[in-house]
């Protein structure tokens, strides 16, 4: 009995913090999402309106559009980060002069706060003063104006996310590659596999758990991107980069539409869970069958 008590006692701080900062706010958001509540609106009181907020968001064209651009953002960003991260991880597995230096500076973006990343990229991409539009127009004759071009703004947010988060993917994949045993790779050479076949049949399946874990983390992170994009484009031009996180922020803070914003948050959480569950069922569960 004592050991059981001790176990709970040791867990208590964690559970308490989790409850305080995780469960309680979530229940509160859930509670608010069933109310109409705009403290600075005509009626500042919390009015219970059943599932009114949820019904509204199903017909909210702006919300649906934001889901679409978020999906595109997550897809392009995470896929590019994975490919680029793998290539960098492989490159860093080799020895070359300055490797330690490069590996260090290449992880620097990771320790930067998103709000800083957004500000720096804003500075770098502002037409006439930013370095990127300058170089592009002087060297390539290409005009970059993320305040005007919807797709340029979208692409820039994707590139910014890649710049910020590829090192995370690289680090995870290096860890996975380093821990691989050498024998199966030598065996595969003897078994007649060429480099491409070794990649598809041996390397990829063996680092699959690490890849999936990274993709999950990056997907969940990318789906709730707010501050970087808010700083860089403010969700514009128009609603070209109004990702769900940005959408919620704009509903809740400038418009103080707390009830509706909460409902959107709950739905986004739900959608994230669904996407992850689908990926789990589609990619992980079938492979684990039969494995002891």
């Amino acid at each position: 009995m004592q050991s059981k008590f001790l176990g709970w006692a040791l867990l208590a701080p964690t559970l308490l913090i989790l409850a305080l900062f995780g469960v309680v706010p979530f229940i509160y958001v859930l509670f608010v999402s069933f109310h109409q509540w705009n403290p600075f609106g005509a009626n500042p009181d919390m009015l219970f309106n059943w599932a009114g907020n949820y019904r509204k968001l199903v017909f909210d064209a702006q919300f649906l559009a934001s889901l679409g651009v978020t999906a595109a953002f997550v897809f392009f960003a995470v896929l590019s980060e994975l490919v680029l991260g793998y290539a960098l991880a492989q490159a860093l597995m080799r020895d070359f002069p300055g490797k330690a230096f490069f590996r260090t500076i290449h992880t620097l973006p990771l320790i930067m706060a998103p709000i800083i990343v957004g500000s720096v990229w804003k500075l770098m991409t502002t037409p006439s003063i930013g370095i990127i539009p300058n170089i592009l127009s002087n060297w390539l004759g290409y005009d970059l104006n993320i305040g005007q071009s919807a797709w340029q703004a979208f692409a820039t947010t994707v590139i910014m996310d890649i710049w910020h988060w590829t090192p995370l993917v690289t680090l995870t994949l290096i860890a996975a590659l380093v821990s691989l045993p050498a024998d199966p790779f030598e065996q595969a050479q003897i078994d007649g596999a060429n480099r491409r076949q070794i990649f598809w049949h041996i390397t990829l399946p063996m680092i699959r758990p690490a890849i999936l874990a990274t993709v999950f983390i990056r997907m969940m992170d990318a789906m709730r991107t707010v501050d970087e994009v808010l700083m860089l484009t403010g969700g514009g031009p128009g609603s070209a980069t109004r990702y769900v996180g940005v959408h919620i922020f704009k509903e809740v803070f400038p418009r103080t539409n707390y009830g509706y914003g909460s409902a959107v948050s709950v739905i986004v959480l739900y959608l994230t869970i669904v996407v992850c569950w689908l990926m789990y069922v589609g990619l992980i569960a079938p492979r684990n069958k039969g494995k002891g």
Binding site: P181, D183, P184, E186, Q187, A188, Q189, I190, D191, G192, A193, N194, Q197, H201, I202, P205, M206, R208, R287, G290, K291, G292
Partner: protein
Amino acid sequence: MARVKIDNVFKRYGALQVMHGVNVDIEDGEFVVLVGPSGCGKSTLLRMLAGLEQISDGTISIGERVVNDVPPKERDISMVFQSYALYPHKTVAENIGFPLKMAKRPKSEIQEKVNHAASILDLAHLLDRYPKQLSGGQRQRVAMGRAIVRNPQVFLFDEPLSNLDAKLRVSMRVEIKELHQRLGTTIVYVTHDQIEAMTMADKIVVMRDGRVEQIGAPLDLFDRPESVFVGGFIGSPSMNFLHGTVSSQEGRQVFRTDGGLALPMPQAGLADGHQVTYGIRPEHIAIGDEGVPVNIVVTEPTGSETQIFARVDNDLINAVVRDRIYARPGEQVGFVIDPANVHLFDRQTERRL
């Protein structure tokens, strides 16, 4: 099937030379065992044959083809690693069929050959399992299945039995030998275990410090070791060595230890005073009253035989006898040695005289 020729092969890592002109000829269908202590270069030599390690000088040919610059996948060889190197994410069937899949053979053919290999190795009921669901012996057999399925010219085995327990090792030894008799493919097999070498090989290559020490049939190596090293390495328990000189006594030459004890030796026509190392195998020492008197230090009865350790000068000499000896430590017994069983080596060069 093919001959393998290793011709004056050197290996250097920068300034460090680890392989010093190795020559080995392997006949078609021969079972050759490379044996030697850790770090003697046997595994490196095998990896050079496989193409996993470059050679610095010399030539290696498989069949009639020089393969120095041929990558592993084009050498038409199979290899079984000590760790088995199974693909953890593939089933037994996928593991065995992998070389065929890489060669883009039709599915039906792959299935047929996998089933055939599985039936030879008694794996048919395990085809859907993953490596981690198998025991050590089963994994070993899967690795062998993957090696035989492609019907290569040469099989390479790198200490394949080292990770198995003693009992399983004996039965796998028999299985590998049986497989060789059945397939008739050339096998190069690396081990540090001289029993494995003796029991399996047609020909043993004893290596030491990146050089070939002696090549020969197992019993030839046992009966006529060319050096002190081979004499001590082959045979278990290992050969006893004593240091001393040749001297004459009553018209016959005898071996006199540095401590002055006289032991019988073959009349090899050596000059008196020649410094020699005297080798005698434990099983070639008998116990008898007419023998050389020695003091027993320890006896170790194992049931089927008795090991006796006795002190001669400052060395412990080991004798193995079939009879049960009930002598106590400190008692004196006589060691009877037939000169025909004595091996004489030059003390300086350590080569056979």
